[in-house]
């Protein structure tokens, strides 16, 4: 028979794992966001060399499996540089840099969909290129990128579980640990799966709520070209 106590006795420990997972996702999203913007600006407005470099960065981080990136940075690159970093830190860095590659492409699509007339109009008012980017282009870009984010969050959430392979104490790792003590793999992995699904759809609803709250008439995937 299924022994529910295996779940209830470890509930606190597992819920801490949920927090670790959420922290991992939130930090990665944030790093991916900041680095993603920098990458995008480099790719759209930068000189040719920068454009090339950003292209290579994106190709690299989108071409490698998560697990290989984690191994590469955790076992090879960071130790090679003489850095002994905690697994959580490595996971956040890798997931964040990888997310930056994806997010930069979301931003790029958004920037390209904003008519070049916006930049012209800003410059005609005497704004510098940087002022125009900061106060005209970026705000519109970020708003246009929101739908793309509702893809990025679930991707990061499900990918965060791969941090298991370097031993980050997130939800899946803790679930596996509890199972090795108490058994009941079916019950515990199923609960783990349901928890992820809950976090997934809960987060999506939150993003959709933000999307609605920040809606600007005329500025949308359809209105962007006008």
């Amino acid at each position: 028979m299924v022994d529910i106590s295996a779940l209830t006795n470890s509930a606190g420990y597992l819920l801490e794992g949920v927090l670790v997972t959420l922290l991992l996702v939130a930090l990665s999203l944030f790093i991916g966001f900041v680095c993603g913007i920098v990458l995008t600006l480099g790719q759209v407005y930068g000189p040719k060399v920068i454009k090339k470099l950003v292209g290579i960065y994106v190709w690299f981080f989108r071409g490698l499996p998560n697990i290989v990136l984690l191994f590469l940075f955790y076992f090879a690159l960071f130790p090679f540089m003489g850095l002994d970093l905690p697994a959580f830190f490595v996971a956040v860095t890798v997931l964040g840099m990888r997310s930056a590659a994806y997010q930069s492409q979301i931003f790029r699509g958004a920037i390209e969909s904003i008519a070049s007339g916006q930049m012209l109009a800003a410059r005609s008012l005497g704004m510098t290129k940087w002022q125009a980017i900061r106060s005209i282009i970026l705000p519109q870009t970020l708003r246009l990128s929101l739908p793309g984010w509702s893809n990025e969050y679930p991707v990061l959430l499900t990918d965060s579980s791969v941090a298991y392979v370097i031993g980050v104490a997130e939800l899946l790792t803790r679930t596996a640990q509890v199972i090795s003590r108490t058994g009941e793999p079916m019950l515990l992995y199923l609960s783990c799966a349901l928890m992820f699904i809950l976090l997934n759809y809960g987060g999506m609803m939150l993003i959709q709520l933000i999307e609605k709250k920040t809606h600007i008439p005329g500025l949308g995937p359809e209105g962007g070209e006008a």
Binding site: W59, F60, R62, G63, L64, P65, N66, I67, V68, F71, L72, F75, A76, L77, P79, F80, P154, L157, T158, D159, S160, S161, V162, Y164, V165, L172, T175, A176, I179, G183, E184, P185, M186, Y189, L190, C192, A193, F196, I197, N200, Y201, P221
Partner: protein, 232 residues
């Protein structure tokens, strides 16, 4: 020079140990991808058809399927299949667990693209087909599906690229594909950098090659006015 000597000393390790192991792993990776892709596509198509054309309860079930297998991290799904199922008497083994896990995940994502494709076909297409005397089935086969597939193609080929990458998770349930092979060599010879750099290059080549091939395919199948890119 020392570094040159070092590199020369390294050559046998690469040619005799690392590369053969990775090539062995590569075959397993390719096998997993080649077996998953067609089944993942067909199952995804079935789910999409259920969601668009099915009666209400079937639609609800198909939706539940998609919610579960898209929401559940693939690694958790693999653990469920590999470690969880045996406790209720179903023993799949590592290879089948990985394969089933990939197919379930791949089909759930594909079904979303295919559903979008099916739903993007305007009702007039069906009306016109029926007005010429086609049966509903004929209209679906000759008119709706060819257009829906083309519209779903960019999404489905993206998913194929993802599949190449997430096939690496099979390693966690002890299938020795490329990543597994690299990890074993890395640990055994304490050659983390070499092993992971090499396997990384393998993946980059594989993914880049697949991307180019799929782009070619998309171009070849492209029809003015019928593509996955945003129209109108």
């Amino acid at each position: 020079m020392d570094i040159v000597q070092y590199l020369i000393d390294q050559i046998p390790f690469w040619t005799d140990i690392l590369l053969p192991a990775l090539v062995d792993g590569l075959w397993v990776t390719l096998q997993l991808v080649a077996l998953t892709a067609p089944f993942g596509f067909l199952l995804g198509f079935l789910i999409a058809v259920c969601r668009v054309y099915g009666p209400k309860p079937v639609r609800a079930l198909a939706k539940l399927y998609v919610i579960f297998f898209r929401g559940c991290p693939l690694l958790v799904l693999l653990f469920l299949l590999y470690f969880g199922l045996p406790s209720i008497g179903i023993v799949l083994g590592s290879y089948l667990s990985a394969l089933f896990g990939f197919i379930l995940c791949n089909s759930a994502y594909n079904s979303e693209y295919l559903r979008g494709g099916l739903q993007s076909i305007k009702g007039g297409q069906m009306l016109a087909a029926r007005s010429l005397g086609m049966t509903k089935i004929q209209a679906i086969i000759h008119v709706v599906i060819p257009q829906a597939f083309r519209r779903a193609l960019p999404g489905v080929s993206n998913e194929f690229i993802y599949l190449i990458k997430y096939s690496s998770l099979a390693y966690v349930v002890t299938v020795i594909e490329m990543t597994g092979a690299a990890k074993i060599i890395a640990t055994k010879y304490f050659a983390y950098f070499e092993a992971f750099a090499a396997v990384g290059i393998f993946y980059l080549i594989l993914v880049s090659f697949a991307t180019i091939a799929l782009n070619k395919l998309e171009k070849k199948l492209a029809i003015p006015g019928v593509s996955g890119a945003k129209q109108e």
